[in-house]
Symmetry: C2
Subunit: 205 residues, 2 copies
DNA sequence: GAAGAAGTTGAGGTCATGCTCAACTTCCTA
DNA sequence: TAGGAAGTTGAGCATGACCTCAACTTCTTC
């Protein structure tokens, strides 16, 4: 059975308000701020979204699709390395523009994915990485789980520098990418995290 | 006027307890946990350390000296690049061993430094970086404020992976250092943060 | 060893956030 | 358009952390 008309309107208002508030202040804002901004009572918020995660999911439901588009574009680029850097840069740009998405990226990189879009985004990201390795431009000892390091690093820099210099993350990303080129590679001291380990970390917030 | 004997003993107990609790759970633990562990009332804690920052300072007072020692050792190494990587690795190792110090590193890189030891640590760190650049091994466009990126990145990885794989940060650091070698350098898209900007970020938590 | 200075204590006030639920309102349907 | 289902409301309870202060204890000094 569908939602009643008023309920549907309230739901939309809540998601819109949450989108704005999350973008401004991150995923950990007090939820009554969201309710107030939506012009709705806190009870209605909890009625519609019993947990914060439900609300977060609703707000960022469409982002998986965006990631898919970015990855497809990256795979359409002739130069595999350019595709890889394009992918990373675009995702980082989304993070820099939205504190909520930045938080989300730090906590749940597409992984152990629920929706078909998430699965597809995950697969395409894998292919972006593998293709860049096959081309010889991305260092061969880089594996998918190492993307977590990239994400965490840039995420943290965005958090720290957003107020002072909103473009600073680009410089950090420059250093990071220079460390991922094949000619830059020196032996790594320890093996990669398993995908399972990364998944566990993400699940624990 | 000096502290009374019992007060001095309580102070020591508080600092010891705080050291242990911070190391285990980070700088943001509830302070009554510290008081409980010290076997002292919460009132005494506030009496001795009016703010959390006072307690943190007392706990980590000796660390500045340790950093100085590490930097001196680094500067004593013939190979400037080996000295630089040694310095970074040892500081990261300290962070990995102590969640409190890890938090501290993310928030206040030695900067706008209060004690003489801090000033000295800051100067030596500058020299470690400059020497590595002069040697031609560290990329010439790297500046001191870029150390903040390194610190934030490894800090975040340590936070995320400590429970799952306590050595994982070494792999991340491997990627980072490979991006800092001179031959790896590609032009950076934006200029560095100023030292003043980094200082402001640290001050705002 | 008496007196007062120094230090300790912990119950309790304050605040921010999460979350609930009984009374009320709106909507839909027959 | 009446009645009941669906949805809304917000005061209020719960929790947990911060911090205070008046009454109490311990130390030091003469």
């Amino acid at each position: 059975m569908a939602l009643r008309k008023d309920a549907q309107r309230n739901r939309e208002r809540l998601v819109d308000a949450a989108r704005a508030v999350f973008a401004e202040r991150g995923l950990d804002v007090a939820l009554d701020e969201v309710a107030r901004r939506a012009g709705v009572s806190i009870g209605t918020l909890y009625n519609r979204f019993p947990t914060r995660a439900d609300l977060v999911r609703a707000v960022f439901a469409d982002r998986a699709e965006t990631v898919v588009r970015i990855a497809e574009h990256a795979l359409g680029t002739d130069d595999a390395w350019a595709g890889f850097t394009h992918f990373v840069e675009q995702v980082c740009r989304m993070q820099a523009a939205d504190r909520g998405y930045n938080d989300l990226a730090a906590r749940s990189l597409p992984q152990a994915a629920p929706t078909p879009e998430h699965v597809r985004g995950y697969e395409l990201m894998t292919e972006v990485v593998e293709r860049a390795k096959r081309s010889g431009a991305l260092r061969p000892d880089f594996v998918l789980s190492d993307m977590a390091f990239v994400t965490w690093a840039i995420t943290r820099t965005i958090e720290a520098t957003a107020d002072v210099d909103p473009q600073a993350w680009r410089r950090h990303l420059g250093f990071v990418l220079d460390g991922l080129r094949a000619p830059a590679a020196h032996p790594l001291p320890v093996p990669a995290l398993t995908d399972e380990q990364v998944g566990r970390i993400m699940r624990d917030c």
